[in-house]
């Protein structure tokens, strides 16, 4: 319970918050760094300077209004579709795992994966640009092949926390996933 600070793969500060709602239900949320005012002003000034330069060359005032509209719409689209505020993982033993991304404009995008489809939660390595980073992922069961993996769902893709944060999340998830192995199996699907 509580919040701890870690670093992301690119060096920014991220915060991990763990909450235990019950014995078999845990919520882990990673908060990404907020939109910086200085980067926003830098981009806006650059666009407006370029537009002013074009205006001086072409003497057409439409360029300036177009630049304002572009900046506004670009900012709205960025906040609504690109900038992730928080990524959270809700693990409910015997129901499933829910992955939520909340964007800066308040939009939330949720996916729920049922426990029957989850094979395991593992930490994997990947080559991202010029680095090798660790990422947490959910392995989905292949319905035809009990040993096979049908899909890999990567988690925390925008915040990309480093290994120490991922180990904490991994341990919490595994504690709940182990409960389903120790629970008495009733007849039926498995």
């Amino acid at each position: 319970m509580g919040e701890r600070r870690y670093r992301s793969a690119s060096g920014a500060l991220v915060a991990l918050r763990r909450r235990q709602h019950s014995a078999s239900c845990r919520e882990l949320a990673v908060r990404c760094p907020r939109l910086q005012l200085r980067s926003l002003s830098a981009v806006t000034s650059a666009v407006w300077l370029a537009a002013y330069g074009l205006f001086v060359l072409s003497e057409n005032s439409m360029v300036l209004s177009a630049a304002i509209f572009i900046t506004l719409f670009g900012l709205i689209i960025y906040l609504h579709f690109v900038k992730v505020d928080q990524e959270s993982l809700l693990v409910i033993g015997s129901l499933g795992i829910q992955v939520t991304s909340s964007y800066a404009s308040g939009r939330e995008s949720t996916t729920f994966i049922e426990m029957g489809q989850v094979k395991d939660v593992v930490i994997n390595e990947a080559i991202h640009m010029q680095k090798v980073i660790y990422y947490l992922c959910i392995l989905l069961q292949d319905p035809g092949d009990p040993q096979g993996v049908s899909e890999v769902v990567p988690l925390f893709q925008s915040s990309k926390p480093r290994l120490d944060c991922l180990i904490e999340v991994y341990k919490s998830c595994q504690e709940i996933l182990e409960q389903r192995k120790t629970a008495p199996q009733s007849s039926g699907i498995k």
């Binding site: 949720t110 029957g116 035809g144």
Partner: protein, 576 residues
């Protein structure tokens, strides 16, 4: 194992009673559908439940007891409720009790034959009954295709959704009915119905019959022998308007059939076709009213002839340029003049033909414009056909140029083989060496040289006319793309996703509500709607779409060799 209880949020304030629903033993979960209130006679309850079970094929049974006491817990009531467990024997017997206005309920189970005496954890999941009943769960596209494991691997959530959706008849009785059983569910305050929907249902039957009759008449006329004679049938197959009209006729037949839609997919398809037709016709009538206001169509007809003249003049200028020294290249004078004059005469014929037609153009256009009321797609197809007819001479020039160039290339390649002493073996489909006589070699080399030096002239004419033809093809292709888009867009599904997003479900999402120690875990289950991209992908209407037949490499190869290209292929056309 953890016990999951799916409780409808509408029953949170219901009076005390017993819980009825479905017990899914493989998943250790109970889906509660309604609460039956006191007083009741157990025999009647059992009878009612068996009847519901027979109609809906869902194994509805009594699952437990629900006590909503405004004051403190009454001991006698709780004992009474436990005794009920012996009358309606169910393993495990779920007891939920709510005190006063507290949000935190206590939930316990009674197991008579239990192997493990330890207290199992209970999760209480609230769900909105109406939304879950109306929503349709879409499996992810990957699993939808594999139909081997169906019944066993039915996910937990689809079982819950199925249970609620199939128990519609349970929700048909409300509290104003004088029956022996008093239920609380989402509709118990009064069954909802819409007058407009009922009226439309009544009106749709005769409308469908009328439409079917009209359609059978029209298809009978279309299939008559008169229209099957060679020139007419060739014309019908080439005009895209006829194909579009045939496509729309098919759609109308689908809508007007009096068989009820079997499943969700068919229902959505019918609704999509209906809305698409409606919007199409509405846009077409809008276009028609705009065209006929202020006599715009007269102005259009008046400008058509000058535009055709202008195009012909531009072509003549182009040919004069080619006959001179185009782009500084030196042409073979004689061949140049021959080809140039041939094409110029062709243009002269074309201009005279257009001028012959000019008095009738306005009338033809006026009547053809009326057919825009059949739909915007038909109007666009007519536009595409008009463009094809007006640029027919460009198509002719392209064919002449391509055939000439193709002949030249084949001649050159064959004579090149002769030049090297080889021959194409038709039997073996390969190049073999061959010994030629001296006079064969002499004439072959001579012809090869002639063809080689005449190549730039022919190639230039071919290049110019191919570019013009490609331009026209691209314009026609864009129009057809737009028609395709209007045809295949599932507008009803998109509007449904916009206004009633819970109807199209991609899955569920859970929200953790306030917890209290010692009480079961409380979750709220909401419907997670499908994304717009998946909506369009799942519900798009099939069309006779035209898509590029060749890949880029084969297209370039055909252009280089001079083979005639028809880049857009219609589905259903025979491969050539």
């Amino acid at each position: 194992m953890v016990l999951k209880v799916f409780f409808p949020s509408c029953c949170s304030s219901a009076e005390s009673g017993i819980l009825i629903g479905r017990w899914i033993s493989e998943q250790n979960s109970a889906v509660i559908l309604a609460v039956v209130h006191f007083p009741f006679i157990p025999v009647q309850v059992k009878q009612y439940l068996s009847e519901v079970q027979r109609v809906t094929k869902v194994s509805v049974s009594v699952l437990g007891s629900w006590s909503n006491s405004k004051q403190e817990k009454e001991e006698s009531l709780s004992e009474f409720l436990e005794d009920l467990g012996t009358i309606f024997s169910h393993e495990p017997w779920i007891q939920i009790s709510k005190e006063g206005d507290s949000k935190f309920w206590s939930c316990s189970t009674l197991q008579k034959q239990s192997n493990n005496p330890k207290e199992e954890e209970i999760i209480l999941v609230y769900y909105d009954q109406r939304k879950v009943m109306l929503s349709h769960l879409h499996p992810p596209l990957a699993t939808a295709t594999s139909t081997d494991h169906k019944a066993d691997d039915a996910s937990k959530l689809s079982a819950v959704f199925d249970t609620v959706a199939k128990s519609k008849i349970l929700f048909m009785t409300d509290r104003y009915d004088d029956g022996p059983i008093k239920l609380t569910h989402w509709q118990s305050d009064g069954v909802e119905a819409s007058i407009i929907v009922e009226l439309m249902k009544q009106a749709s039957v005769p409308a469908c019959m009328l439409l079917t009759f009209l359609l059978s008449l029209i298809s009978g006329i279309c299939r008559s022998r008169v229209l099957k004679f060679w020139p007419l049938s060739f014309l019908w197959s080439k005009l895209s308007t006829c194909e579009q009209l045939g496509h729309r006729l098919q759609h109308l037949q689908v809508i007007s059939s009096n068989k009820k839609a079997q499943n969700q997919t068919q229902l959505m398809r019918k609704a999509n076709i209906f809305v698409s037709l409606l919007i199409d016709v509405a846009l077409g009538i809008l276009l028609m009213s705009w065209l006929y206001r202020k006599n715009r169509i007269g102005h259009l007809a008046d400008t058509l002839i000058p535009v055709a003249d202008h195009v012909a003049e531009e072509l003549q200028d182009l040919l004069q340029w080619l006959m001179g020294a185009p782009a500084g290249l030196k042409m073979n004078r004689a061949l140049d003049q021959v080809l140039g004059r041939f094409f110029l005469y062709h243009i002269h014929l074309w201009i005279s033909y257009i001028h012959l037609m000019s008095p009738f153009i306005e009338m033809i256009l006026w009547y053809v414009g009326l057919s825009a009321c059949l739909g915007l797609t038909v109007a666009l197809c007519i536009l595409s056909d008009i463009i094809a007819l007006l640029t027919f001479h460009i198509y002719c020039f392209y064919v002449y140029g391509a055939r000439l160039y193709c002949l030249k290339i084949y001649g050159l390649s064959s004579l090149w083989r002769l030049f090297r002493g080889k021959k194409w073996n038709v039997l073996r489909q390969r190049v073999d060496s061959c010994s030629y006589d001296l006079d064969q070699l002499f004439i072959g080399t001579l012809l090869f040289t002639i063809l080689l030096f005449l190549l730039p002239t022919t190639a230039l004419y071919y290049l110019v006319f191919t570019l013009l033809r490609l331009l026209v093809v691209i314009v026609q292709g864009l129009i057809h793309l737009l028609v395709d888009l209007i045809d295949s867009l599932p507008l009803y599904s998109i509007i449904l996703r916009l206004c009633r997003s819970y109807r199209l479900a991609a899955g569920v999402k859970f929200r953790v509500l306030e917890q209290q120690d010692g009480k079961p875990l409380r979750l709220l289950m909401q419907v997670n709607p499908l994304s717009y991209g998946s909506v369009i992908q799942t519900y798009r209407l099939p069309t006779y779409s035209c898509y590029p037949k060749d890949s880029w490499t084969s297209l370039c190869k055909k252009l280089f060799l001079g083979e005639l290209i028809y880049p857009w292929k219609h589905k259903g056309e025979k491969q050539d």
